[in-house]
């Protein structure tokens, strides 16, 4: 057996001295470089974003540039006029939420951000931005507030969340307070009348995430005005947990049947992550429970970059208007919305990893005192402003760590 040891030793010696060692080590270095350096590089500014430093304010100024442009449906070419209108609406709504959250976190520039928020509200209630909803329902959402035959949950829920935030920031301002009260009353009446305790976004279409915006707006209105809808909100949360949350994954069904309330689409992360944000204004515990499901079931890393799977375990599908592109099962919207969800629930590690992904694909660029995401466009910049400035819930003690 001695000869074998000698031969083995020689072979090993040659291998170690030769190309195998050299190129082997080089490939290991390449792999280590790809695995360790890029995500570290992209996460550099994450702490400033997480703690609310100068960078979020710079993104606010970048988003303000888009808002000042008087955008129209023609700026969005989703291929469907309803979605073009929806995206235009969402741009002003999310930008307004971002400006409101900046006003909360930065008292020194409160008035500047409140003015921007006000501009967003003015655009949101304009006939141009109501058109997508009015066309879908055959009825204007604001002119029909006194009638309860059509829910208009998407338009009214999202609008009212911004109106309630504005009310909370500036309680003395009467201009939109009356509208805030009228919309809140209409939403409460319609929820009370709904057998499912869920409102329809469009005829025969019920989306739990849009209903999360509805109840988030009612909860925020209560905090701003001292009104009390806590019993309705508790009933709603209980019903949602029983019917619209997938028991296996803990995620929200993206859509439920408008009559039975049964899941009509898969449990998905994009809707769940956005609902975590909306519910943080009214239901911190439910928001935290949904976030835990999102983090434990859907969150993942690729080369150290944070990513979130769009479809719950056992489900699969392609990207759509809600999810954005789904690549290798990971969703663009799910990953982006989870940034806000992780910030809300104090999960800095997840926030940092997700921020690395945003930095890689969003390509933030400073231009003077402004910061913009090159690949974001108006909607992407507005959404990320809202997510990156999302505040912690009022009752922090309820949140898990």
């Amino acid at each position: 057996m001695g000869w074998m040891n000698i031969n083995l030793g020689r072979v090993l010696g040659r291998v170690l001295r030769g190309r195998v060692l050299r190129y082997g080590l080089a490939v290991v270095a390449l792999a280590a470089g790809v695995r360790l350096v890029p995500h570290w590089w992209c996460e550099r500014g994450a702490v400033d974003w997480y703690r609310g430093g100068e960078l979020p304010r710079a993104l606010g100024r970048g988003t303000a540039r888009w808002i000042a442009e008087d955008l129209s449906e023609q700026d969005f070419t989703t291929g469907h006029s309803k979605y073009d209108g929806e995206w235009l609406f969402a741009t002003y709504m999310m930008a307004g939420m971002g400006f409101g959250q900046l006003a909360l976190s930065d008292p020194g520039r409160r008035q500047e951000h409140l003015r921007l928020l006000d501009r967003c509200v003015e655009r949101l209630i304009s006939p141009q931005l109501r058109r997508f909803d009015a066309l879908a329902w055959g009825d204007d959402p604001l002119e029909s507030l006194a009638r309860d035959d059509k829910d208009h949950a998407a338009y009214l829920g999202y609008l009212n969340l911004l109106l309630s935030l504005q009310r909370r920031l500036d309680p003395g301002r009467a201009r939109h307070a009356r509208l805030n009260d009228r919309v809140t009353r209409a939403l409460v009446r319609r929820l009370e009348a709904s057998p499912l305790l869920l409102l329809r976004s469009y005829p025969a279409e019920v989306f739990p995430v849009d209903n999360a915006a509805v109840v988030g707006s009612i909860g925020l209105h209560d905090r701003a005005t001292g009104a009390d809808h806590s019993r309705l909100l508790e009933r709603w949360a209980s019903r949602l947990s029983q019917r619209a949350v997938d028991r296996a994954s803990g995620l929200l069904f993206q859509q439920v049947h408008h009559r039975s309330g049964a899941g009509a689409d898969a449990p998905r992360a994009s809707g769940t992550a956005l609902a975590v944000y909306f519910l943080s204004f009214s239901h911190p515990r439910l928001s935290a429970a949904l976030y835990q499901a999102l983090r434990t079931r859907q969150a993942d890393t690729l080369l150290g970059f944070g990513v979130v799977r769009e479809y719950g375990p056992g489900h699969a599908g392609c990207g759509d208007i809600d999810s954005g592109p789904v690549v290798l099962g990971y969703g663009v919207s799910a990953t982006g919305f989870s940034l806000g969800a992780s910030r809300i629930h104090g999960d800095e590690a997840t926030f940092r990893r997700l921020f690395g992904t945003l930095h890689l694909f969003g390509a933030p660029v400073r231009r003077g005192d402004r910061l913009e995401l090159v690949t974001g466009g108006p909607l992407g910049n507005a959404l990320m402003l809202a997510m990156l400035t999302a505040p912690r819930p009022v009752n922090q003690t309820e949140q898990p760590r």
């Binding site: 190129y23 080590l25 080089a26 490939v27 470089g33 969005f76 660029v365 231009r367 090159v374 690949t375």
Partner: protein, 129 residues
């Protein structure tokens, strides 16, 4: 004793220089292309709107946008690994320049003629393989 084919002079370190040059060129090209595209696109709302719109637009901006994403991935994700890869090769070539030159093409402007002392196929090196 000296100057003969069996006792070569210390080989010129062409390979390390070539590796360094190639690495620096690749890094500069990727970083320059990336920064150039980044600032071009930052001032081009057409492409920003295209990203936001989901791609239902003209092919020109779409191609530009895809090139940008690929270049950004190359510059941020691939480049650091590539630099480390080359650095390891560089270290080996510094430790054992003769072997490094034998195992790869000689660097530009530094390769002695084949068969000459210290060349990749030179007789002086054959005893070391």
């Amino acid at each position: 004793m000296s100057g003969g084919p069996t006792s070569p002079a210390p080989p010129p370190r062409a390979r390390p220089r070539a590796i360094l040059l190639r690495t620096a060129l690749e890094a500069a090209l990727a970083a320059g292309l990336h920064l150039g595209l980044l600032h071009l696109l930052a001032g081009s709302d057409v492409v920003a709107r295209l990203f936001s719109a989901g791609g239902h637009s003209t092919w020109g901006p779409l191609a530009l946008a895809l090139i940008f994403v690929l270049v950004r991935l190359l510059a941020i994700v691939v480049l650091p690994g590539l630099v480390l890869y080359r650095l390891v090769l560089l270290v080996f070539s510094l430790i054992d320049p003769g072997r490094a030159r034998r195992s790869g093409a000689p660097g530009p402007g530094a390769a002695p003629a084949a068969g000459a002392a210290g060349s990749p196929a030179g007789p002086a090196d054959s005893s070391r393989s």
